[in-house]
């Protein structure tokens, strides 16, 4: 454990920037390359990086696995909920024009929430898959000890 001090210090330096970069990719997706999918993967990668360096239990304390599992569904429901909201406002399903005062702001609002749903689902699914794989490995090793 003492030998990986370089990794630990570097991880501490890099992970905040990775998370901020994920948010940047998410919210700057309107203007440059990026969007919910890419941002979700970057956020998940930051947490996976943390888990690789500091161990799976530490990562599970930061991002509990139950929370990840719930967020998987929350993202999809958020996306679908935007569609339902646009029906309630008198438009078609996923018709963003009715969501704001004028069509352009409605589009902005719709795209924002839809991208947020994609971000949440993608990040939590990637993280959950990693948790399951890595947790399996730890379980498999335990009987030998």
């Amino acid at each position: 454990m003492r030998l990986d001090i370089i990794l630990r210090v570097l991880a501490k330096l890099l992970i905040p920037f990775a998370l901020v970069f994920g948010l940047y990719v998410q919210f700057h997706g309107d203007f440059g390359p990026g969007g919910g999918f890419q941002a979700g993967v970057i956020v998940a990668a930051a947490v996976i990086f943390y888990a690789l360096i500091y161990g799976l239990p530490a990562a599970r304390r930061v991002v509990p696995t139950d929370l990840v599992q719930a967020l998987m569904a929350v993202g999809v429901l958020l996306y679908a909920g935007v569609g339902v909201a646009s029906i309630l406002f008198g438009g078609n399903y996923l018709d963003y024009f009715v969501l704001g005062a004028d069509p352009v702001s409605g589009q902005h609002r719709g795209i924002f929430w839809v991208e947020a749903g994609v971000l949440i689902t993608v990040a939590s699914v990637m993280l959950k898959i990693f948790y399951v794989f890595a947790g399996r490995r730890r379980d498999a090793e335990e009987p030998e000890q």
Binding site: Y96, I111, V118
Partner: protein
């Protein structure tokens, strides 16, 4: 990229195969950048080279690091693959030239997206406008696909085991 692909096919050491596939993904991402598809390049670099490499290493740790010898000769599959590839290459000969602006695909809805998209949605990045607004249903479907993948992995591997250590060891002995 060709070298990486051939190396992957010939390697028996799965550790090397995963590393080569990561390299392949990064090269693919640079190709996408050259083609001006920056969004796709970003996804390819993050998913193909980043997350899937880590997941594949996790899978190797679970299953073991060498590929077993194939029990049959791969000549028939090779023939099928070569024939299909030749047919696909033959098919591309009938396509319009690369980035030909008068190609049918650039005449259908693409001009509308490009001219109206930024005005109607107020989003300068046309890729985002098409993805989230014009093709909102498709993206909803994609999100569901990702969600289903997560559900599938949970169903296969993620069952919660009993907390008590006695039961836990018994449960794991069976699996």
């Amino acid at each position: 990229m060709g070298a990486a692909a051939i190396g992957m096919a010939r390697q028996r050491n799965l550790f090397g195969v995963v590393l080569l596939s990561g390299i392949y993904s990064f090269l693919m991402a640079t190709v996408m950048v050259v083609l001006d598809a920056v969004d796709v390049a970003m996804t390819e670099a993050a998913v193909g080279a980043g997350i899937s490499t880590v997941l594949l290493f996790g899978a190797i740790h679970l299953t073991g690091g060498t590929e077993s010898k194939p029990i049959h000769r791969p000549w028939l599959p090779l023939l099928v693959v070569a024939a299909t590839g030749a047919m696909l290459v033959y098919g591309t000969l009938g396509l319009p030239a690369f980035s030909d602006p008068s190609a049918p695909i650039h005449q259908h809805v693409a001009p509308r997206y490009l001219t109206e998209g930024p005005v109607k949605t107020g989003v300068p990045n046309v890729v985002t406008a098409v993805l989230a607004s014009y093709r909102g249903f498709d993206t909803l479907g994609e999100t569901f696909v990702v969600f289903t993948a997560g559900i599938g992995v949970i169903a296969l591997l993620g069952r919660r085991r009993p907390r008590r250590p006695l039961d836990k060891s018994g449960e794991e002995g069976k699996e």
